[in-house]
């Protein structure tokens, strides 16, 4: 193996694999170092949605850009990626939440994202098994779901076809000054290092403000047709936005297999991979509230994973001012699958000096440089390595 690379990507999750593919396709000599298996961390633990989200204009711009990139790729994706444009229904319980539906529709429209408002009857027709009555919903038809481990593997294969090399399993213990140090005491040298190892990135660069935010998921046996769209409660916004409290929200997906994937939960401070009964209970009670028939379905597996959360809920994409050879591609929290392709574009643009299609400013890690503490978000010391199971 060549001892000097243009780019060393640390982490072969979906973000690292996408970065490698983009870099290699632009002619950069690229190596990816992975400590475990391709797509085995947060990539395997996540729900796998390709969604447009409007928490902030920057989030909307990034998710929309990336969703377009996925849509262009869809035809080429192998069947095991299970890409399905099932759409998202943001479901409203009452008139107050219908206000949010209308607000959301206007915001999406301003960004060129088509969406439709369903009234109570239309929602009942679209999702006959939802609780009744519901006030209505916002339908975003362009949202999709995928099976992320196979998506990451395919992106990695594409990268390798374009000349990238996958090295592993080898654990990275340090990065900086154009070097990536491995646990076998060897080194990889690269002009640039892209740190794309999700919540574990802070173990390599303790000063970056990325924290582990634990999530739980449950999947059922196959019940084709029980759910047709991704369903999200509008209360999700309230819980997902809170940076402190443990929270659960109703979010289910129909998988191509006919299984129903049930989420979601968000916790700070619990860094063990163990499934917590009380969190699973709370999450499933919420699911039963919205989808009463789910209670009679057979739950076959539960698992946990760790999102890489940042203080402003935007990812860290681009140069890290702490070391001129290091770029970050992390901090995607719950949107790493969606925004992986856009992240890869922005990273490769930065590496090749190309102009990006969207403004990169909101995602530049420089926004946190020099801050040891950010309001409401204490930066912890390097954290214990924890395993993420699928």
């Amino acid at each position: 193996m060549s001892d000097s690379w243009d780019v060393v990507v640390v982490g072969a999750g979906i973000v690292g694999a996408a970065c490698a593919r983009e870099c290699a396709s632009r002619g950069l000599r690229t190596v990816v170092v992975e400590g475990s298996v391709v797509g085995g961390g947060a990539t395997a633990a996540g729900m796998g949605h390709i969604v447009v989200m409007d928490d902030s204009p920057a989030q909307l711009a990034l998710t929309r850009y990336s969703q377009d990139l996925w849509a262009h790729l869809a035809e080429r994706l192998p069947a095991n990626v299970e890409f399905e444009t099932c759409g998202t229904l943001w479901v409203a319980l009452d008139e107050e939440e219908m206000e949010e539906v209308r607000r959301k529709r206007a915001v999406y429209a301003s960004a060129g994202v088509a969406s439709e408002i369903l009234d109570s009857d239309a929602l009942e027709e679209a999702e006959p098994h939802l609780r009744r009555p519901m006030a209505g919903a916002l339908l975003v038809r362009s949202d999709a779901v995928i099976y992320p481990p196979c998506a990451a593997a395919w992106l990695m294969e594409e990268a390798m076809r374009a000349g990238a090399v996958l090295s592993g399993p080898r654990r990275v213990v340090g990065v900086g000054a154009g070097r990536v140090r491995l646990d076998d005491r060897s080194e990889l040298r690269g002009g640039r290092i892209v740190v794309a190892c999700g919540a574990e990135s802070a173990e390599l660069l303790p000063e970056i403000p990325v924290r582990k935010r634990k999530g739980h998921l449950v999947i059922t046996d196959r019940y084709p047709g029980l759910v047709r769209h991704q369903l999200v409660e509008l209360g999700y916004l309230k819980s997902a936005h809170s940076l402190t409290a443990d929270s659960v929200a109703f979010n289910v997906q129909p998988r191509k297999t006919g299984q129903v994937l049930i989420g979601s939960s968000r916790q700070f401070g619990d860094e063990g991979a163990a499934v917590r009964t009380e969190i699973v209970s709370a999450m499933l009670e919420r699911a039963q509230f919205y989808l009463p028939e789910i209670g009679a379905c057979s739950a076959i597996r539960t698992w946990t994973g760790f999102r890489a959360a940042t203080p402003d809920k935007l990812p860290l994409i681009g140069r890290w001012p702490g070391d001129e050879t290091v770029l970050l591609a992390t901090g995607h929290e719950g949107l790493g699958i969606t925004t992986s392709l856009a992240t890869a574009r922005l990273i490769a643009d930065a590496l090749t000096g190309a102009t990006s299609e969207i403004s990169t400013q909101p995602y530049l890690p420089a926004r946190f440089f020099g801050e040891r503490r950010v309001a409401g978000f204490e930066v912890d010391p390097p954290q214990q390595r924890s395993e993420v199971h699928a």
Binding site: D221, R222, Y223, T257, A296, S298
Partner: protein
């Protein structure tokens, strides 16, 4: 096991099947001549382990899918559908 001759009448895929009391639903399905389920790629399947571990014996009973038929004893009037 006592095999009393009191028959139990149930339906498998809409067809009447008469079995001895104490017969498992899995046995009733096989007596009816049907496989218990189609696999995800469409193969016909029948019970493998006979002890509730392999899940090959899954059928719908009275409208509830994914019931392990080898662990359930037939009851009069049961509506069994193979999956």
């Amino acid at each position: 096991m006592r095999e009393e001759m009191r028959p139990v009448l149930l339906t498998v895929n809409g067809r009447s099947v008469e079995v001895a009391e104490g017969t498992t639903v899995a046995a009733a399905v096989l007596i009816s001549g049907a496989p218990t389920r189609r696999s995800v790629s469409g193969e016909a399947r029948a019970p493998l382990c006979g002890m509730g571990i392999c899940f090959e014996c899954r059928v719908a009973i009275d409208g509830r899918p994914h019931q392990r038929s080898c662990q359930i004893v037939c009851a009069a009037g049961m509506d069994v559908r193979t999956l």
